[in-house]
Amino acid sequence: MEKEKIKKGKNAGSFRELSGTLWDNESKVLLPLESLDKLRLQERNFRAGLSTASALILAIVTGIFITLVIASLPSIRATGFVFFTGSTWDPVKNIYGTLPFLVGTVITSFLALLISVPFSLGVSLFLGEYYPKGWFSSALRTAVDLMAGIPSVIYGFWALLILVPLVRSLEMGIGVPAYGVSILTASLVLAIMIIPYSASLGREVIAMVPKNLKEAAYAMGATRFEMIKMVVISYSKSGLFAATLLSLGRALGETMAVTMVIGNSSILPKSLFDPGNTMASVIANEFTEAASTTYFSALIELGLLLFLLTAVINIVGKSVMKKLNVVK
């Protein structure tokens, strides 16, 4: 359809209109419809517009960084390094130690990663290796796509009403204080949320494995599992690592679902069943309440930390993926 359009020049405009020229039959020359100067000006403006847009993206990211740094200066000056090592967060007494949130963020992200790895690896292998074609695998692919599309606030709502009671009954079963809202609950939701992301990245990495390597392994008499272990996994090791890293970046910054089920307690958590807080959830909860300058700026320093962490993780993960030609 499009092909015809291009041929007939409906979409593209006629040659005469496009080139801005007119064939003069008497003098046998192409006469410009508009003056060449005007065309040149238009062209220069167009190119300038393109590079402005590109520069604007760069400016936005630089601006984000600079704004965060400037806004967190009061807190950096007031708290210094204690910001990272202090375990008391008490805005009333003007004490800002973020260790509980750092610990909460690290534990929830890594636990979520740990839970999600077998599942996302399972999906990647299922779609990339065992059943790459057929209605069943396309149904699973659609399902994973759907999972990626569900907003985090809906996951949070679902977790609040379904997952929290489940965890509570588990806690009652093993005899710990049954809050229901806990670091474990948050990790479970996070795991569910990052599975589709790491699974789709993993599937692309696994699809990159050359066919003749796999055939060679089969020709040597390897079973499918041995082939996967020796060829697929070892060939796509760095890609799978990058996929995990990128999902870690996602997990670090995820806010809403975590805020709804983690319990929002600023005390250093002692076990997985304790309520906690993450950097993102504490910002979400306290940003609009922060009255004093230092309090406000301490929250922004957390945001700066999140920005730097995810930026580094993303740059490293993306560069590995680009080297493998998975993402351009």
């Binding site: 499009e2 593209a12 040659f15 080139s19 936005i60 965060l68 806004a71 399972g122 292998l125 606030v153």
Partner: protein, 282 residues
């Protein structure tokens, strides 16, 4: 001896296959559970009144989500209007200028922007817009969402353009067509499917974002269409009402979740349709 070794290997092979299938299928359980609960709890509260009324205070029957529905449409609409031109132009620049210094830095920025947590974008929109104008506003929410849409649009534009054959442009230049007209009238129409699907994807991605709206568009219990004032949106309404202790408000949140989910799934469906309808074969 040899036979048992082979049997062991086959056994191990089958075991791993079983594990892979089990784990892959278990992934779908949460999805089914989420969909099941949202449909079960949400569908009941959907009716005309639900769509055209604003929420009522606790204790009163009825009430709807009109304010959030209108707010979401306005906030996402303004964000799209801001993000699309910049994103598409940026994508064209990145494709046309592969290795200039600006292109490299801008590509890196896109990567970074793709991973910035949405809550950080919220802080930024608060500083840039809310502090400047002195009040929470729908517009500041739109700015936050637009920043989040940018990298997706840039990426999809760049990738779609790189799929087009080079000869298309060369033929146009050979005929003496100026650069800007080649891009605007020939390259862009050919790449329309990819660009539109990228835009739809980015809209679907930000339509459910809550964190950046917490301190920008802020939420509003009444219907408001003025972008300079606080405005309610679907995700914010779900967050506020889901975390409230009242049963009535939970029902409202379930209904809103259902609408939001249908909206986002429809966007995804249209993306697939756009790709199929405008797919170009050479």
């Amino acid at each position: 001896m040899k036979e048992t070794a082979i049997r062991n290997r086959i056994y191990k092979n089958n075991l791993i296959k079983g594990l892979v299938i089990t784990f892959a299928l278990l992934c779908v359980v949460p999805l089914i559970s989420v969909l099941f609960y949202i449909v079960k709890q949400g569908v009941g509260s959907i009716n005309w009144d639900f769509l055209v009324n604003v929420p009522k205070p606790v204790g009163e029957e009825g009430g709807g989500i009109a304010n959030a529905l209108v707010g979401s449409l306005i906030i996402v609409g303004i964000a799209t209007l801001m993000a699309v031109p910049i994103g598409v132009a940026g994508g064209i620049y990145l494709h046309e200028n592969k290795n200039t210094r600006l292109a490299n830095w801008s590509r890196l920025s896109t990567d970074v922007l793709m991973g910035v947590p949405s809550i950080v974008i919220g802080i930024i929109a608060y500083f840039w817009i809310v502090m400047t104008f002195g009040s929470f506003s729908a517009f500041s929410g739109s700015v936050a969402l637009a920043i989040m849409m940018l990298p997706v649009i840039v990426r999809s534009t760049e990738e779609t353009l790189s799929l087009l054959p080079r000869q298309l442009k060369e033929a146009s230049f050979a005929l003496g067509v100026p650069y800007h007209k080649t891009i605007m009238r020939l390259v862009l129409p050919c790449a329309l499917s990819g660009i539109i699907s990228g835009i739809l994807l980015s809209v679907a991605r930000v339509a459910g974002e809550t964190a950046p709206l917490l301190f920008t568009s802020f939420g509003n219990a009444y219907l408001n269409t003025h972008p300079g004032q606080p405005m309610q949106s679907l995700p914010l309404l779900i967050f506020n009402y889901a975390t409230s202790p009242y049963e009535d408000w939970h029902n409202l949140a379930w209904g809103a979740s259902f609408i939001l989910l249908v909206w986002i799934l429809l966007m995804n469906f249209f993306t697939k349709l756009a790709i199929r309808k405008w797919r170009i074969t050479y």
